[in-house]
């Protein structure tokens, strides 16, 4: 018997509530004191197709799903066909007996059938078939011995808006399904869950953490155009707009969105636009505008597989080098690529500081896997320790003292020119996307061009000094060193844990502060590596290219993936055999 170490998979068609049910169940598990990591998989269609929601549960913090399923909650026949082979021996399938299930196939894989008449229970106890999902969660609780109260508490919260009657019906349905399973199957199932007493914890996804980080950083203006998987951030802000005083604008297109953000930021407001690669492509020209006019903006690219429309709802990390060089000409920018939920928060929170300190665009490069996958986090996991730093903004009092004409682009050793926000009578200025002089006036003079270029590019060196060293995980001396970035970190961390447990020492160098690359710190982190392997969810190994270009260090191998589905620890370990 195994306790608190298993995975659930909710699987069915789009429109059947796979995600909401899965998330509700995951939340219940968290409330029950367990740790969870959840993975979402869905098609770019509104109804039909085959989606799933996979929840890994443990007694300790986990950073990734894996390829083993213990309980499949199948809402369709296809779900069983699709996922049967993932179920571990002794695992089981909960399904409505209305589905035709090939029992022999289950038996041959030692998978147990747990037919539960969820539809009937929903209709009889709740009066509506839509509650069959609630029945399924009740059944899952019953099967694993999970305290029904944690399910009930989520039902109460999730249906509260729909009124007490709906809450009550769902509670009845859950209880009936729970009873049904307890009565019929008892404690026969080998994988069990026991609630634990812990302080309250959050279940939060990368996009949610990112939005939260941005809001806490004082982001007051968000403009965007819907694009999966970036739109949840726009929608998050739309929802919180009124209560938290953020102007949120669904614009006519991405070009408008980023230019609105520039307009707002130029006025002095912290402003951001979330999108995905395709939308980012449309924002490229404006990125240069922010660079040239030294307007601090935050652009969020939640990557998905390209090229072009690619796989709208799937996962890839294919945009790294694009972020570094997007837009004509050369100008400083910041690129942060979070790899965990905590880092999503941190990246958003820091990005505004960095953008404002260096008066340049800051890009947060996240990805679909990170965006969609909630994880259980302690309440203090998302730290506000870094103080808000708006950089060199001249106060009204300082501006009152000005005796000479204000120079928006003054030459300074750091390259940073103290900012005056428009509106003060002593600091009237105009600036331009054309090359300009210190005052912001259009200027074609060669010497001034050099001064302004040098000044802007100096900011990059100033910023480089404060970019953080790569995060290192695992023993400091190891036979294998993995170089990685973004959400590949999660499955890789699980894989490295397995390797070390098996006696193959391995560690991870994860680069979150991508640009300006803290070259010395990266060299220091990598120079001891015995065997260096890059792990990236893309075709060409973009981080490996970047590192070679700026440090000269070449990786010994690449573990990559580009089929739209995130890596798993198993995948990494299997590929590792090929590359070493």
């Amino acid at each position: 018997m195994s306790i608190n170490d298993m995975s659930f998979k909710f699987a069915g068609e789009a429109g059947q509530g796979v995600e909401s049910t899965g998330r509700g169940f995951a939340k219940a598990l968290v409330r029950g004191g367990l740790y969870v990591f959840a993975l979402q998989d869905y098609h770019s269609r509104i109804r039909g197709g085959h989606n799933f929601y996979q929840i890994r549960v443990a007694n300790h913090d986990i950073y990734s799903h894996d390829e083993k399923v213990h309980v499949l909650l199948a809402f369709t026949q296809e779900a069983i066909a699709e996922h049967l082979r993932e179920i571990v021996p002794g695992g089981g399938i909960i399904y409505d007996p209305e589905l035709q299930v090939d029992q022999d196939a289950l038996v041959s894989r030692s998978v147990k059938a747990f037919p539960v008449p969820v539809n009937q229970i929903a209709i009889e106890e709740g009066g509506n078939k839509v509650m069959s999902n609630t029945a399924a969660t009740g059944a899952a609780a019953g099967l694993t011995g999970l305290d029904l109260e944690v399910i009930n508490s989520v039902i109460r919260d999730n249906f509260a808006q729909k009124g007490t009657a709906v809450v009550e019906s769902n509670l009845k349905v859950a209880a009936a399904a729970y009873r049904f399973v307890r009565e019929k199957y008892g404690d026969s199932f080998a994988f069990r869950l026991q609630t634990r007493k812990t302080a309250p914890r959050m279940l939060i996804s990368g996009n949610e953490a990112l939005a939260l980080g941005a809001l806490m950083a004082g982001c007051k203006f968000v403009a965007g155009y819907p694009m999966t998987p970036g739109s949840p951030i726009l929608e998050w802000f739309a929802t919180h707009s009124k209560d938290y005083g953020v102007v949120t604008k669904h614009a006519e297109d991405e070009i408008a969105a980023i230019n609105m953000v520039i307009g707002a930021a130029q006025m002095g407001v912290r402003a951001m636009t979330p999108t995905s690669g395709g939308g980012f492509s449309l924002m490229v020209e404006a990125l240069g505008l922010a660079g040239m006019t030294e307007v601090p903006i935050v652009v969020v690219n939640i990557q998905r597989p390209g090229p072009a429309t690619g796989h709208a709802t799937r996962h890839e990390q294919g945009d790294l080098l694009f972020m570094l060089y997007a837009a004509q000409g050369e100008f400083p920018r910041i690129v942060l690529a979070p790899g965990t939920i905590e880092q999503c928060f941190e990246a958003a929170y820091r990005a505004f500081n960095l953008a404002e300190k260096y008066q340049c665009p800051a890009i947060i490069l996240s990805d679909a896997f990170l965006a969609h996958s909630p994880r259980a986090l302690e309440l203090d996991a998302l730290s506000l320790d870094v103080p808000i730093d708006r950089g060199e903004i001249l106060s009204d009092e300082e501006l009152d003292q000005l005796t000479t004409r204000y120079q928006r682009h003054a030459l300074t050793p750091s390259g940073i020119s103290p900012r005056a926000l428009p509106g003060h009578p002593k600091a009237i200025y105009s600036t331009s996307s054309d090359e300009h002089d210190e005052y912001g006036q259009i200027c074609e003079d060669a010497a001034i061009r050099i001064q302004q270029m040098d000044k802007r590019m100096r900011k990059l060196e100033t910023a480089r000094a404060e970019m953080r060293a790569p995060l290192q995980y695992g023993p400091s001396q190891a036979r294998l060193t993995f170089l990685t970035w973004g959400s590949a970190y999660g499955p890789l961390r699980s894989a490295v844990d397995i390797l070390n447990a098996q006696g193959t020492s391995a560690n991870i160098v994860q680069i979150m502060d991508i640009w300006p690359l803290p070259v010395d710190k990266v060299v220091q982190a990598l120079q001891g590596a015995k065997k260096l392997i890059s792990v990236e969810q893309n075709y060409s190994g973009q981080l490996a290219t970047l590192v070679r270009a700026y440090t000269g260090i070449k990786v010994d191998g690449l573990i990559n993936k580009y089929d739209g589905r995130p890596m798993s620890p198993e995948y990494i370990l299997a590929r590792l055999k090929e590359v070493v």
């Binding site: 403009a223 707009s241 600036t431």
Partner: protein
Amino acid sequence: MVTVKDYFSPVRPTWCTGCGNFAIWNALKKALAESGLAPHQVMLISGIGCGSKLPDYTTANGYLSLHGRTLAVATGARLANHRLKVICTHGDGDGYGEGGNHFISAVRRNIGLVDIVQNNRVYGLTKGQYSPTSPHGFVTKTSPQGAIEHPFNPLTIALAANGTFISRGWSGDVEHLTWLIKEALHHRGYALIDVLQPCVTFNRVYSYDWLRPRVYKVQDDPNYDPGDKAAAFAKTQEWGERIPIGILYRTEDVPAYEEQVPALATGPLVKQPLRVKTMAEYERLKQEYL
């Protein structure tokens, strides 16, 4: 007291002698001064083009953005600080060509901008290609056999997009244009001022001489009702022997976009503190995920 002199800048315009932009520039400065607006209360936003250089020649807050993006930048600026008067000055290529989508959106949105389009019906700064407002048959470097498209009529389009202040001025009458800009400055929402701006270098068709005898003021007719949409539709279609200028359509009944944004109810966004009760807000937000 604010005077036109407050708007003077040491930088001299690079416009060609005789360019219609001088009149627009003068009218704008006059209108601002006469409206009692000081340079620091004004934000001039432009794009790229001959006309778009105007803020560079004017002492006021200014931002010269990208070709075509004037209205998008201005919308963000206005939403960030609606205490400043945000005024756009940009060409027909910028406003109706590259920026066409932003134009329609700004109109529908009724965002509080004064939008002065320096409509010389040609691309000036890139040396004379046809523009969206160039007439059918117009011969330029990119239309040696004459432009095939029929011109974009900004006034009709603005009307079709539910514009609330739709007007035309012209560089040959600074007084009238000054009046128009002052009216626009008082408008609630988006005010379009399409200005017939002779380009003496690249558009020899729409010259002062061609325009002067044709232009007439709709406001001279006491019976003209700028609140009548059907009449305005007909008026915006008028072009040729007689060209109407003035306010062709106007309504003050539609609230500006920024009046309807909850987050702006307590004043300009930029004046609001980043976070009022940081820790309390943070704890409240985290509750959503428990």
